[in-house]
């Protein structure tokens, strides 16, 4: 028995050692040798090691969630020398977020994209953007007929503009597709990704009918002084290469009662964000009093993102 146990222990320690070597190797590859001094980097390796074996976010206990947040904050301090604040605020009671986009008002200034990139710490190297603005001609109704690559003064005569981002479907095909349950719909209707649980297979990307998801093809880069430091575990915290990400309705802001960055930045007031369950909200007013429509209704995905015309 004793020797059996010893054998087992040996095997386990060996496996742990092998795994840690693998992690250290991968960490060395991802982090690069920045000459942080032996102590600093060994602490980072230890944290990375624990991070590697952590659980799926949805099965973590509150204590485990706090532990991983502490580790991530420490890692940000050690590796990037910044103090971030990662929170894990849960969905509010009686909250279901929805979005409405005023097609008449949008003039294609793209302030929303700028604000989104900044707020959500999107990769500057590959120019990742959650929002796409399409320039449309009269008679066109869906963005796939429009042009997303326009580069000129806006607004152009005889054109109108439509914004597209993740629509946070009530019946999201991406959630159904994910083989590891790394993406799901929260109780307040936000479709989120547990970045650390994602294996990067990109099946969700193939399943999304709205081009709502973005993949980190390279190691994302954000200039240190431009990093938004108020972060959410499921939102704008640091991502690495190989992870899927997407619009989270600025979960780090909206769960604290603020507007999304895009809605706040829009200079024309074309973007309406709010709680669908609050009868006094602006979004409810739009849905009740304007003529609204959604994209690809025939697919039955039930987007919580409506377009309307004044």
């Amino acid at each position: 028995m004793d020797s059996d146990k010893k054998k087992k222990m040996n095997r386990r320690t060996f496996l742990k050692g092998a795994a840690s070597a693998a992690i250290a190797g991968s960490a060395a590859v991802t982090v690069g040798c920045e000459g942080k001094g032996l102590l600093g980097s060994s602490e980072a390796y230890a944290l990375e090691f624990q991070e590697y074996f952590k659980k799926y976010y949805r099965v973590m206990t509150p204590v485990e969630r706090q532990e991983t947040v502490t580790r991530l904050e420490k890692l940000a301090k050690i590796k990037q020398d910044i103090t971030v604040n990662i929170d894990t605020t849960k969905p509010g009671e009686n909250v279901l977020f929805g979005y409405a986009f005023n097609v008449t008002r949008c003039e294609g200034y793209m302030e929303c994209i700028q604000a989104c990139v900044k707020e959500n710490n999107l990769d500057r190297k590959s120019n990742t953007q959650y929002i796409q603005i399409f320039e449309m001609e009269p008679g066109q109704m869906t963005p796939d007929q429009g042009d997303s690559k326009f580069f000129h003064m806006v607004p152009q005569d005889g054109h109108f503009y439509m914004g597209v981002q993740c629509f946070h479907c009530e019946n999201p095909p991406c959630v159904k597709a994910c083989p590891t349950k790394a993406t799901w719909k929260e109780d307040d209707g936000i479709v989120v990704v547990d970045y650390d649980w994602c294996i990067g297979c990109r099946y969700c990307m193939a399943a999304c009918p709205y081009m709502g998801r973005r993949f980190n093809w390279n190691e994302p880069e954000v200039p240190k002084d431009e990093i938004t430091k108020n972060q959410h575990y499921l939102g704008n915290r640091k991502r690495v290469k190989g992870m899927m990400e997407k619009c989270t309705f600025c979960i780090q802001r909206t769960r604290k009662g603020k507007l999304t960055a895009c809605a706040e930045a829009c200079p024309t007031g074309a973007r309406v964000f709010g709680n669908l369950l609050d009868p006094d909200s602006e979004i409810r007013f739009v849905l009740e009093n304007k003529k609204v429509y959604r994209l690809k209704e025939d697919l039955g995905t039930e987007p919580k993102f409506w377009y309307f015309i004044d």
């Binding site: 693998a22 992690i23 991968s26 590859v29 590697y52 799926y56 099965v59 590959s126 796409q132 399409f134 963005p143 796939d144 007929q145 429009g146 997303s148 597209v164 095909p173 159904k176 597709a177 994910c178 083989p179 590891t180 349950k181 790394a182 650390d196 649980w197 994602c198 294996i199 990067g200 297979c201 990109r202 099946y203 990307m205 193939a206 399943a207 999304c208 009918p209 709205y210 081009m211 973005r214 993949f215 980190n216 093809w217 390279n218 190691e219 290469k241 190989g242 992870m243 899927m244 697919l299």
Partner: protein, 409 residues
Amino acid sequence: MKKNTASKGIFSFIKDCLLWNLSGPISYQIYLCILVCLMMAGIYGYVVQFKLGLSATNMSNIVSWGFYISNFTFLVGVAAAAVMLILPSYIFKDKDLYKVAIIGEGVAVGALVMCMTFVFVDLGRPLQFWHLTPGIGQLNFPSSLLAWDIIVLNGYLALNALVPAYILYCHYKGREPVGKFYKPFIVLSIGWAIAIHMVTAFLYQGLPARPFWNNPLMGPRFLASAFAAGPAIISLVLHVVNSTTNFKIENKIFNKLRIIIVSAAVINLLMLFSEIFKEFYFPTHHSQSATYLFFGLQGHDSLVPWIWTAISINFIGTMILAFNPFRERQIILFPALILLIVGIWIEKGIGLIVPGLIPSPMGEVTSYAPSNIELLITLGILGLGMFVVTMLLKPALIIEKEYDDNHEH
């Protein structure tokens, strides 16, 4: 067999297999070296990709699956095709095909190893692969078709590796395998072969976001093209075995395979015609992917020459095999088999995956061609597959030959 049976345990089985695999004429050693070089090249490519991320490939947010998944799809078919040898030999008791069923199973194992490696190299975060393991991870079963695919592919690999291993081990020890130990698994593996390809088809078919894939004919057509390309590859392997070893394969076996290939290839062409009719008789918004594939869209037409080549050689290969103008000289059918395999590989690989993603759901059109790293890794995986097949077949054929000789005299 000169050794007495008692001394032949599992260890001597493994040892003999290794020895047989490593020994051979100089040409065989060179062949092994080439395969090892291919694998090394693949490993080099993967190290680069691991460092840079998948930006080392030419995939993008629009074409999010490329050459790896294309090859994966084709090879699932090759793996499934072993059933076309197993079914007649074990269920219909066809003595001729029974002799070569083991070769079909070896090819299936090689194809499956390649399939899994292709999926693995396509992952953005391969170190997190354990998240898929039930128990310690979260497998999204039964909701995700990818979870289904992982289960059926691993199950099929186990069936196709363990059943032949048991039979070979028995033959190695000079005794008849016990039917009840393996026959139930043979029956299971027949259904399972259909399942791996249907599930892989459902992986694409189940996505309403992609009209080009969201097509109920996809599963059956996958099977038809698999039962043409798979036995064609097995035929090629049999030709190689026939000309390089003393395991002789009779002409009637090639003929039986030819009939299987032709039947499946004709059904495949029929279904292809049906799909083309649907897309182009009354083109709708959903026919854009097909338009992109066959004629090009908004100036992007990189796949056009490929698909027309594929359909032409597919048709020519099928016709040559069907009318068989060379009768008993099977070797002349070699080029026809290759035409058919390449045709199906293009059409079912890159000709199926890439147009499914173009235009993007938001109407963007782009072009895709694999990067050098993708080609290098693909070459490495091909080398790995050939290596696995060689390592499995060489000892298997030696054991079978010895067993047959002993039991005939």
